[in-house]
Amino acid sequence: MPETGHDHADSIDTPSVLSAAHFGALLQAIRNEGYTLVGPTVRDGAIIYDEIESTQDLPIGWTDEQEAGHYRLKRRDDFAYFGYVVGPQSWKKFLLPARRRLWSSVRREDGGFTIEPEPLPERRLAFIGVRACELAAIRTQDRVLMEGSFQDPYYRAARQGAFVVAVNCVSAAPTCFCASMNTGPKVSGGDLALTEVVSPERHYFLVSPQTARGQAVLQRVEHRAASDEEQDEALTHEARAVSQMRRKLDTEGLPELIAAAQGSAHWQRVAERCLACTNCTMVCPTCFCSTVEDTVDLSGQRAERHRKLDSCFNREFTYLHTGSVRESGAARYRQWLTHKLSTWHAQFDSSGCVGCGRCITWCPVGIDITEEAAALREAVDQS
């Protein structure tokens, strides 16, 4: 490894400038540490997260147009690498996969059977382009799957093995409300925190290492100390995300308010629009609910169990021998919103919502969690 680029003594709090031309070298340096790169890429008219090889796989020059029930990719008039906000997927795709084998079982000759746990993930992933709300979502799922009395060993291994390159938002979608949820738009955490600056004159990243291993990777790439002007320009870019953010969710006393609204007639008004399609739960970066699927092969000798992500909007979700507990759409929407904004606090000491706005964008009928929370507040205030 050639020792390049440290023309100054880096410390964890000195931002550096990495030119866009050297971003590929940063990706390569991360790969050289043994990580598989996953990051944003354009597919099927959306920016999704998948394995990437190089800068060329990034959504260069693309942005996303979002509104309630609306998502379109649009060309930018520049060549920004991270010039979009968030797509339909989140990093739970890799930490809490939609379908995963838990174990397999083989019948023995004596009629018994052996159970073999699924091996832990061998690949260590580097997440390239994690937004502030997404970092918050990962921490939220950590509390569910890794920090309770029981731990999901796969999640823990994938999570602890991951290298995180966080990238600040420099614009906000109309569906964003991370500022209300106190999760963004500025990132704190990850291994490296980047701000992308694109102007007619220049294209660079302001890089702040957040951990020793982030620092170590940066050392292997050509970079230099940021000038005051370069730092100011990055701050101006970050400020744009704050000033563009229009949606708000009033969180004052919200858990208690939603608890008080359980008997409200408003749930039925939402249910009249809600299709129970489960889109909101699939795109939500904190939703973790699942089911299991037991299968056996044709010989009857080999059985497996898979875990599949599920949704509280499915009727079977609460099935007991007497039928489903939450039969009506109103009850299912109430459960989802109540869990996100109220009971999550009692369970995991935080909101279950990070303000990414995905559930608003991807709802086919445009149901908006911020509007519904406001309507419930009004309903409770009037009662």
Binding site: G111, D294, G300, Y319
Partner: protein, 284 residues
Amino acid sequence: MAVEGFVPQDGSDPMVPEPYRIVERRRETSHTVTLALSSAGEVPTRAFQPGQFSMLYAFGLGEVPISISGSTARRDRLEYTIRGVGAVSKALCETPVGAMLGVRGPFGTAWPVAGPENRDLLIVAGGIGLAPLRSVIYQVLERRSHFGNAFVLIGARTEADLLFRDEYPRWRAAGLDTRVTLDAASGSWKGSVGVVTSLFPNVEVRPNRTVAMLCGPEVMMRFAAQALRDKGLSPHDIYVSMERNMKCAVGFCGRCQYGADFICRDGPVLPFGRLEDRLVLQEV
């Protein structure tokens, strides 16, 4: 309240069952079977507390939560009384002695059997709800002198649905006032007819020294708890055992949420006082 059940200390996956073998199988009613299981793996048969449950796996078919119905004194076995209602529970009921099942657990909270001396006990069971309460009854039988009055009130649909009927004489002889009522009775039945709360008027309930444990259909527990409140019992001295759809039993699958409680982890046994507001709502 919370009782530590099985928690893997070595970071291994709590979703992976342990092998157990059926050592005894007894038919209780036409739809109900009691299975006694002993560990067939490296880890000895796990200890439990009354009220806890396990996830029982039938090879290739699936897994269901089943309460433990046996005695905590028998460290060599775990007993489960299973009503065959779905594909998995029916298969479990049909599994013969010597066959292997996968077991995870025990999980969840326990009935508050330990507590101040000389408390009165009121055990109220509807149908299969007697199963997790039998573990309480066994503990009380061992330490009968530590309790004051002790009632076991049992409701069943018909005479043929009565669980553990051959044990009632022994319970009565040991000083557990065991009473039975049926929803529907044939001509030969000499006992009470009516829902389980119809037994309450003839039971002396002494508030502030009675703890009540209720297990049965949710509607039965709701009415029974309300009737006991009317008799002056504090909602915090009434315990119920809740049932919800469950796929993991360790707080991962999210299905068993009942308000802020995960029934698998914060329950199944919960004080009525904590649930009162939720039990009056539909479809929680």
